[in-house]
Amino acid sequence: MIVGKQKPFDEIWDMVKGFKKVLVYGCNTCVAICHAGGSKEAELLASMLRMRAKQEGLDLLIDSAGIERHCEPEFFEPLDEKVKTYDLILSTACGVGVNFLADRLAGAIPVYPGINTSFYGAVPEAGFFVELCGGCGNCILHLTGGICPIVRCSKSLMNGPCGGTDKGKCEVSSETDCAWFLIVERMKKLGTLEKLFEVQPPRDWSTATHGGPRRISLEHIRAYEAEEEKKATLTGEGK
């Protein structure tokens, strides 16, 4: 899932204080699970902002709301009218949600981010999140025992550990496992260590963020949707 962390309160306050009517808008999917931007966090943040506004003597109306997801248009619809009555939307969704809502509002109302979107991660234990995938668009986990060297190695090395591995830990921090140490140990257990002996050539990074914004289009689904829409228009006309 997408993991984020709420921005420092003072930073949020600086974003918000010049406005009159603000909606703190939560998203109840990924960022709710990491306690950063669900309806609950949006509600608390709104209350804190109101208290700050009161102390600063600012006449600021701050409400909160939340919807299931900020990355699909259907979920926005029930609140569209309400949203239009504010002069700032402070979104506590991930960066995808902020972008998507800003596009939807098309410059009519600004959308500001309430959280820092951090990484794709897992939750090995409650309240603890780790990055496990870089979303590079060209997966090689079959070659590395299911451990991603692109994000779990601090140098994204593709051909084995650097000289900085110390007692199985990364040179960047003694609290970070060396990904290549883990990969070698995993491959030994799997009995496939020899897969690591081949030199991996330079990667094509154009599938990562280096080839411009990425898109995936499922033509069979889009064709079906278009057909359904056409049918609906036809029957509509028939009436």
């Binding site: 051909n159 900085g164 690591l196 002996f197 330079p202």
Partner: protein, 326 residues
């Protein structure tokens, strides 16, 4: 000859090679490079010019290598994968070759977080590159030299002729994988290898045996890394804090003994430790040269370039061979 560099000629002649290290300054003043080059000249076949080691901004490796070369010291320019993507790397390689540089050592480079240690602020917030890693950089350089092609496939009118090096940490974790790590660098095209500093010769011998079993000593020239110890404190630090380096207790004891012999005299304390350090370095050099498959030594007298002369002389490696260019 692949590059015709002095280092390559010495290695090809079958004589034991000696390389040294020269760290460029955090300054726009070339005089420190010139001064250090003067101290090293004549006591090594080539000297590595580090590339912003510990991720601290210094005179660039290429520029410092060019200055050293002008002073008559053959440089091994280093190139880290940290700061350049493949476009900048290849552009720099063409530029370096055009300036007459002939040796290049490929390394991953210290992570940018390293820069913020001790008194220095460094640039821990920098964006690192790591477009390619060491093996891949070696491969790119080989392809440029041998096929006259850029990594992307475009032709080079004149190919850069480099003697290609790579580093090896024989005693780093995971230790049983390290010989294969070396094999990958050799497979990629490394002509010579310089190892991380070695104090534990017995352990190094066993890693070398594994490398020999893979036939690597015949396909590349392995130079054993020797870091000249300056004090007992430095040895203890290297043992506890430097990745892939273990220092046998007896070496630390020897340094402590030398320190104790000076009593309370601080100056003498330093002198005696430095003398002992040079003695230890000479012994390590001699032991390393006896290991089958070793083709030379990479002696690093970090910020202590004047130590090169006594070490090379005492180890019987002086004078350095003078070989005519082809």
């Amino acid at each position: 000859m692949k590059s015709g560099s002095n280092l390559e000629r010495v290695i090809a002649s079958g004589k034991m090679a000696v390389t040294a290290e020269l760290g460029p300054p955090m300054s726009a003043d070339p005089h420190e490079v010139i001064h250090k080059a003067g101290q090293l000249k004549g006591f090594c076949d080539a000297a590595n010019i580090t590339d912003c080691q510990t991720a601290v901004v210094r005179i660039s490796s290429i520029a410092a290598a060019f200055i050293a070369q002008r002073e008559g010291l053959e440089p091994v320019m280093q190139m880290t994968c940290r700061d350049r993507n493949r476009i900048a790397m290849q552009a720099d390689l063409l530029g370096a070759a055009a300036l007459g540089l002939k040796n290049c050592l490929c390394i991953a480079g210290d992570h940018q977080k390293f820069g913020a240690s001790g008194k220095l602020k460094g640039h821990p917030g920098a964006k690192n590159v790591y477009d390619v890693d060491t093996c891949q950089l070696v491969g790119i350089m080989k392809k440029m030299r041998d096929e006259g092609l850029q990594q992307g496939g475009d032709k080079l009118e004149v190919a850069p002729k480099f003697f290609i090096g790579a580093s090896w940490t024989p005693m780093g974790d995971p230790m049983d994988f390290r010989p294969y790590n070396l094999k990958k660098k050799v497979d990629a095209g490394a002509d010579f290898i310089q190892t991380q500093g070695i104090y534990d010769m017995e352990l190094f011998k066993s890693q070398m045996e594994k490398a020999r079993n893979l036939g690597l000593h015949e396909r590349t020239a392995i130079l054993a890394g020797i870091i000249v110890p300056k004090s007992a404190m430095m040895l203890k630090y290297m043992d506890s804090s430097v990745a892939g380096v273990t220092v046998p207790k007896e070496l630390i004891d020897r340094m402590n003994k030398a320190k104790a012999a000076a009593g309370d005299d601080k100056k003498k304390m330093r002198e005696l430790q430095e003398q002992e350090g040079i003695k230890i370095a000479v012994e390590l050099v001699q032991q390393a040269l006896e290991i089958p498959g070793i083709k030379g030594v990479h002696i690093q007298a970090i910020e202590w370039e004047s130590a090169m002369e006594p070490i090379v002389k005492a180890a019987g490696l002086y004078p350095r061979p003078v070989l005519p260019a082809e």
